[in-house]
């Protein structure tokens, strides 16, 4: 694969900026798409509303999900995607500041493919993004296009 398409679900614009910067600094070939909440995510995946044009909503290779979302929470969104036969094979990586064991357990029960903690230190965050990018870009076989 030449390039990793990532859908980042994150409502905090500063976090979005830092994540974008981290991806850029890793130097990995990637395309980062941003949605800010559950409704936008579902619209993106189902190509509805502003995402009707397929080129505006390329199918992601992996989804990065922040649990702390407004309205529909991250856990609920995770369940909705993983219960939908059209999207359940998409790898979802939880990326959050919460290390609470209840959150971790619940996320895996709902079908998360990995659970990562966002470190406060940017350099360590970049390490996380780099490992994640390399793993999903170079190491694993992703599900084939439907």
């Amino acid at each position: 694969m030449s390039r990793l398409t990532v859908l980042l679900i994150e409502d905090n614009p500063r976090d979005v900026r830092l994540t974008q910067r981290a991806f850029v600094q890793t130097g990995l070939p990637h395309e980062l798409r941003i949605v800010r909440d559950g409704d936008e995510t579902l619209a993106y995946l189902q190509r509805e509303g502003v995402y009707q044009d397929p080129s505006s909503a390329p199918r992601p290779d992996v989804i990065l999900l922040d649990l702390n979302l407004p309205r529909m929470g991250g856990h609920e969104l995770l369940r909705r995607i993983k219960q939908d036969p059209r999207f359940k094979q998409l790898p979802i990586i939880v990326l959050t500041t919460s290390g609470r064991s209840d959150d971790v357990r619940q996320a895996y029960e709902d079908g998360a493919n990995a659970y990562l903690l966002k470190p406060v230190e940017f350099n360590r965050f970049m390490d996380v993004i780099e490992q994640l990018g390399k793993f999903w870009l170079n190491t694993v076989e992703l599900p084939p296009e439907p």
């Binding site: 976090d15 830092l18 910067r21 702390n68 500041t97 406060v120 230190e121 940017f122 350099n123």
Partner: protein
């Protein structure tokens, strides 16, 4: 003077025959024959223990049968019989006074005195002239009032009888109490070991009964089927019952939210062992869910193997703890997001715009980064602090020597850097404690000893002293020491005695250690001489390992 026996017999018998006939004549028209018989019967019963012959007297619907009185007189001692007959007469009079009123009693007394005077004019007992007719104090009531009076008399009599029974019971109880008092008071409370004599046993019983009732914790005894055999007041209060009696006979498991867990707990307890500090969720009679901390032990109760449990309601404590943990959690979680921005952006500035900034500008960026990372540590400490005692880490048998080996290994870098010497006793005990918590305590105390050093090589001595109920560990250093007025302050969260530049750290370490020590039933403290060194000590209670 020798009395002529037969004549004396007949004379006295004659007197009492007339006296009793007089009684009958006075009472029967007012009370009716049934009540009169009742009244006489009651008096007879009261006296029959002292004068058994009284029960041989035959009272019929027309009063005393004279033959039975004569029979009683033959073959009994004169003084005794006479006294008995007098007592019966007095008792009947008393009873009439209590149950039928003064008027009838006076009339009866007057009639009796008249008979006596007529019979023994010289006795001098009489207040009435023998010639004076019996004064009619009350006129016979109209016929219609008679049955009413009779039933009133009957009721009074019944009440009187009950009163007497209760008096007897009360007397017996008082005798018992008196005996108990005499046996308990002179014995000293300290001689519990010698509770072998009946007196000691009674005293011990009273003592434990008081303990049982006064206990601020619920105490309950259950058999092997979990049926409740005994419970105290507080136990009833915890389960929202009015009296302990309502609990007896019920099954303990009906109050458990998860009865299946209880069975395994009970099976785990072997004779003579106790299991302590088990948290159990229970449901009260009114349906409230409560959290109870239970300690249990198998005992011999009335010849059977039973489970004695002490229950403490910790619902409020559990709720507050959960609330605090939730608060600390969301606080630390939500505060982390801006910290990531501070750190990330400051670094961004340094990396991409560092050339535009001067030295001060770059220094400021670096300080933002440092503070953001420090604050992250503070938040982690806060979270850690709120979690102690909450996440139930299992207490297991831990060899302190092994824990110290690991701690020293983890602190190797600091030890080598400071060239410190650490002295550890050859033999250290095995304690029952969550291993990770004991590691935390020693890591914290030792790293403080390695950190707060004066301008000399650190010399640290670890000590352990066995006490009756606990082990007392000490960590002594030759560091900067602490002034006594700061002893309290060093255990407060985020309170520091030095700047971060002098000695780095969050100021939460000792707070966390204190909370760990205390939440596992120990104490902690410090003794120090500024400039010479400090000795931190903490205790670990001796405990049996929970199987």
């Amino acid at each position: 003077m020798i009395q002529d026996q037969p004549s004396w017999h007949s004379r006295t018998a004659q007197l009492f025959t007339q006296l009793y006939a007089c009684v009958w004549q006075q009472l029967e028209p007012f009370l009716g024959s049934a009540t009169t018989l009742n009244l006489i019967g009651l008096s007879t019963r009261t006296l029959q223990e002292a004068y058994p012959f009284l029960s041989t007297l035959v009272w019929g619907p027309k009063g005393l049968e004279a033959e039975s009185l004569l029979a009683a007189f033959s073959g009994a001692e004169q003084a005794h019989v006479r006294a008995g007959c007098e007592r019966l007469l007095q008792d009947i009079q008393l009873l009439v006074q209590s149950c039928c009123g003064t008027l009838l009693a006076q009339q009866l007394q007057a009639a009796i005195e008249q008979v006596r005077c007529a019979y023994e004019p010289a006795s001098g007992m009489s207040v009435f002239d023998a010639q004076t007719p019996v004064p009619v104090l009350v006129a016979l009531p109209p016929e219609a009032a008679l049955p009413l009076l009779q039933s009133m008399g009957q009721q009074s009599l019944a009440l009187y009888r009950r009163l007497q029974e209760q008096q007897t019971a009360l007397d017996q109880a008082q005798v018992k109490i008196g005996t108990l008092r005499r046996t308990t008071i002179p014995t000293s409370v300290t001689t519990t070991t010698a509770a072998s004599t009946p007196d000691d046993t009674a005293r011990a019983e009273t003592f434990y009964h008081d303990l049982f009732d006064l206990s601020p914790d619920g105490v309950i005894v259950t058999n092997t089927n979990d049926d409740i055999l005994q419970a105290n007041l507080q136990c009833a209060a915890i389960l929202e019952f009015d009296t302990p009696g309502e609990l007896i006979g019920r099954n303990f498991t009906e109050f458990l939210l998860r009865p299946e867990q209880h069975g395994t707990l009970r099976d785990r307890i072997s004779p003579g062992r106790r299991v302590g500090g088990i948290l159990q969720e229970m449901r009260t009679r009114r349906g409230h869910t409560i959290v109870v901390m239970a300690s249990s032990r198998l005992i011999d109760y009335e010849g059977r193997s039973c489970l004695l449990s002490v229950l403490r309601d910790v619902t409020e404590r559990a709720r507050l703890r959960q609330e605090m943990e939730d608060f600390a959690y969301s606080a630390s979680h939500d505060l982390q997001a801006p910290l990531r921005t501070f750190e990330g952006y400051a670094r961004w500035l340094l990396e991409d715009y560092g050339e535009v900034l001067d030295v001060t500008g770059r220094q400021l960026c670096q300080e933002i980064i440092d503070d953001a990372l420090h604050m992250k540590k503070l938040l982690d400490s806060l979270l850690e602090y709120s979690r102690i005692g909450r996440q139930h880490t299992q207490a297991v048998a831990v060899e302190v020597t092994q824990v110290l080996d690991r701690v020293l290994h983890d602190l190797q870098l600091e030890i080598v850097e400071t060239n410190a010497s650490i002295e550890i006793p050859e033999a250290l005990p095995t304690v029952v404690y969550p291993e990770i918590r004991l590691t935390q305590i020693f890591t914290n105390l030792l790293s403080n000893a390695l950190k707060f050093t004066a301008a000399r090589t650190p010399e640290i001595v670890i000590g352990c002293e066995e006490q009756p109920t606990s082990y007392r560990f000490t960590v002594r250093d030759n560091g900067i020491g602490i002034a006594p007025e700061h002893y309290g302050r060093i255990f407060e969260i985020f309170k520091r005695l030095h700047t971060r530049e002098e000695y780095p750290g969050t100021g939460a370490g000792l707070t966390i250690v204190k909370k760990i020590v205390e939440s596992y039933g120990g104490q902690i403290g410090v003794e120090s001489v500024p400039g010479i060194g400090s000795t931190f000590w903490f205790t670990v209670p001796k405990m049996e390992e929970t199987p």
